[in-house]
């Protein structure tokens, strides 16, 4: 019996030891170990380069870049926020920033550069970039990391085959449709592929026509606005043309897949995908190029130009135990040097004004130089990505209605109404 007791005791002690060893984050080397959580594996090297530049100057700090896939990222981050074990630094997205900011889970970084220059943010980041890092209270909850735009990707060979001139900056929606028709007639390939996507689809058309998805107060929907409705109808009707596949097709084959398997000649793409598409489809190099978005020929208001611009930021928890060091790292991430390294790695267009070309120059290494400058040209009239606190609630409902209109289960008018309802009730429910 005594023996048994000893055995049990041993077991208990060893289990306790196991538990404790799991908890302690052995910093036996006397350095500060920081974790940096991101979701895009394509940017891992770029982020590592930025971290290396910092740790070179601060040898007492070690930063470990961790990648979690987008689909798991938010579940995981929310769990760490609840248990107060957030990574020291992490990427924040406009979809989620309001939630995290309003619940005090990410630190207010408005004063981050005060000792250096109280006007730092305003001097070096655009208004759109800054609104992407603001919480509901208007304060800055992240250091702007990058900014993006949406452009038109087209297949040069198909344009040549149909004897159509390549897209120019003066192109309008009419030119887009006309070229699509000609290419379809001449080659049998699809023209512009308009599918049920917001950021890479109808949002651009709505804002080009002078409409809006969210009203001025950022609470009410815009699907009852005539300009919005007209743009939506134009965009959704494109699938009725013979040169555009229908939503059934897109449910199985994304426009990107169709484009790079040479089934279609045009689609809208975010600049963040261009580099990996160059790398992933080497035998397509030279066959395609990019252009600015076609403009609306007769907008209800404005000049008919718009592109959706989103941006990520670096954020941290206000309760992290290495808060002061983390703040120093973040200051570096937002500095000219930190942003330049990011741009040169090709990861993304730096949010820092004046460094945009560092990203574009990365494309010099390919045999065919894409006209990626068009993505930079569009910042001039870019529109902030649509977002409010209730977006997670209405997003799925708006998507459902959109798909029901496409499949004919809902008339266009009823669909617009239910989308409008979804946005408005999401705010009322709170």
């Amino acid at each position: 019996m005594k023996k048994l007791k000893n055995v049990l005791m041993l077991l208990a002690v060893s289990m306790l030891a196991l538990l404790m060893s799991g908890c302690s984050k052995g910093s036996a080397d006397g350095k500060t170990h920081l974790t940096f959580q991101i979701w895009d594996v394509n940017q891992r090297d770029g982020m590592q380069a930025v971290c290396d530049a910092y740790t070179e100057k601060h040898p007492d700090v070690v930063i470990e870049v961790q990648v979690t896939s987008w689909s798991e990222y938010w579940t995981k981050l929310e769990a760490t926020a609840i248990s107060n074990q957030m990574p020291d630094i992490f990427w924040m997205h406009t979809n989620e920033i309001l939630k995290y900011a309003d619940y005090g889970k990410i630190a207010d970084l408005t004063d981050l550069y005060d000792s250096e220059d109280p006007e730092y943010y305003q001097k070096h980041f655009s208004e759109v970039s800054l609104s992407n890092v603001q919480g509901s209270d208007g304060r800055y909850y992240g250091v702007p990391k990058d900014k993006d735009t949406v452009g038109l990707v087209y297949n040069k060979e198909m344009f040549d085959a149909a004897n159509v001139a390549y897209p120019t900056p003066d192109w309008t929606w009419d030119d887009l449709c006309e070229a699509s028709q000609k290419i379809y007639d001449a080659t049998g390939k699809y023209g512009y592929m308009a599918y049920g996507d917001d950021q890479l689809g109808y949002w651009n058309f709505v804002y080009q026509n002078g409409g809006y998805i969210l009203a001025e107060n950022n609470i009410n929907g815009g699907f009852d606005n005539q300009a919005t409705i007209d743009a939506m109808r134009f965009y959704m009707d494109l699938q009725k043309e013979n040169w555009c596949p229908d939503q059934n097709y897109f449910a199985e084959t994304s426009p990107g897949t169709a484009f790079f398997s040479e089934q279609g000649s045009m689609f809208f793409e975010g600049n963040w995908n261009i580099l990996s598409e160059m790398n992933n489809y080497p035998n397509m190099i030279g066959k395609w190029d990019v252009a600015v978005l076609p403009k609306c020929p007769n907008p209800a208001s404005g000049d008919g130009r718009a592109t959706i611009s989103n941006g990520l930021c670096y954020a941290t928890s206000p309760t992290g135990k290495n808060y002061e060091i983390v703040k120093d790292v973040l200051r570096f991430f937002g500095s000219e040097e930190g942003q330049r390294i990011q741009g040169e790695s090709g990861a993304a267009i730096p949010a820092y004004i004046g460094l945009e070309s560092t990203w574009a120059n990365v494309f010099d290494k390919f045999d065919y130089r894409l006209n990626v400058e068009c993505f930079l040209d569009m910042f001039e009239y870019s529109v902030q990505s649509v977002n409010n606190k209730y977006r997670p609630t209405w997003k799925t409902k708006v998507t459902d209605s959109l798909l029901k209109i496409y499949s004919g289960q809902l008339s266009f008018e009823d669909g617009m109404k239910s989308m409008q309802d979804a946005i408005n009730t999401a705010a009322e429910d709170d």
Partner: protein, 298 residues
């Protein structure tokens, strides 16, 4: 004498203590991973949930909202339709397969392994492969049919497609269970029946079916439960951009979208509780109904 009983009870005590220690890992696991979360889900279903695990009790608000939503009733219909498609056909086919695998054919072990194979493959992989088979443009089925059927995107067909995949994945497992039931049937029944001139079909309906009915009952209960709970298959087969999404949305898929995409865990929990009640009800009906057809006498 009194000394003796004291000793015995001491012995019994230590024995029962060891009993508790032995079952502790399972019980603790069950309490921490099943019972506690279940109670928590009940609580959440009566609460307005907010991000980061915050919530406030609000009574039956979620249930009112749930019963008033067309989406919810649609999901119920979809789930019932899915059960009607998968359970009768699935079990019938499993029984046929089990009977065939029970006969003396060449390569019997090989066939048993083949039929069981879908069970060892991850559901995600199964769904991926089938998605390609059913692809409208390039899928092998449409190539053979020389016809462009929208297997995955037509709201009228999508559930049938999902049911085919579900049946295919479950046949092997059910057949193996039924096979074990079949092997318990003594050969002497068949010998006696064939001496009396019973045909193979008569033997099946009068000997095999009644004798295997207890196993069949277990398979039926399990298949129905998992059909009501169907989620992973539909999640993998149906993309967010699929126009047939609302026609394929099962109760558990609705729960997933409410809880984890829309972030409304309260409403999501109500859907779960409803589903649990539904499964309970169906199972009670089945236990009541089994008296009429399950034969426990050997």
């Amino acid at each position: 004498m009194s000394n003796n009983t004291a000793k015995a009870s001491k012995h019994a005590k230590s024995e029962s203590m060891w009993g508790y220690i032995m079952v502790a890992p399972t019980i603790i696991g069950l309490l921490a991973l099943n019972i506690y979360p279940f109670l928590d889900t009940i609580k959440l279903s009566f609460s307005k949930t907010r991000p980061f695990g915050l919530y406030e009790l609000r009574g039956i608000e979620n249930y009112i909202q749930m019963f008033a939503s067309a989406e919810f009733w649609r999901a119920n219909l979809n789930t019932i339709y899915f059960c009607l498609l998968t359970v009768p056909i699935g079990i019938f086919l499993s029984l046929v397969v089990a009977v065939m695998l029970n006969t003396k054919i060449k390569g019997r072990t090989f066939f048993r392994a083949v039929f069981f194979l879908p069970m060892v493959v991850a559901p995600a992989a199964v769904a991926m492969v089938w998605k390609w088979i059913f692809n409208t443009e390039y899928g092998i089925i449409n190539t053979i049919l020389a016809h462009k059927v929208n297997w995955i995107t037509d709201p009228g067909i999508v559930m049938v497609t999902c049911a085919i995949v579900a049946i295919w994945s479950a046949i092997g497992y059910d057949a193996v269970l039924l096979l074990s039931g079949l092997q318990n049937i003594s050969k002497s029944y068949y010998e006696a029946a064939s001496l009396d001139g019973a045909t193979k079909v008569q033997q099946f309906f009068h000997i095999t079916l009644p004798m295997v009915s207890p196993t069949l009952f277990v398979v039926l209960i399990m298949r129905l439960m998992s059909s009501i709970k169907v989620y992973d298959l539909i999640y993998m087969m149906i993309e967010e951009s699929n126009p047939a999404l609302t026609s394929a949305q099962s109760l558990m898929y609705l729960f997933y979208r409410e809880s984890f995409v829309a972030g409304n865990r309260g409403l999501g929990s109500s859907v779960v509780i409803w589903t649990v009640a539904l499964i309970g009800l169906v199972t009670i009906v089945q236990f009541w109904g089994q008296k009429k057809w399950v034969n426990y006498e050997v």
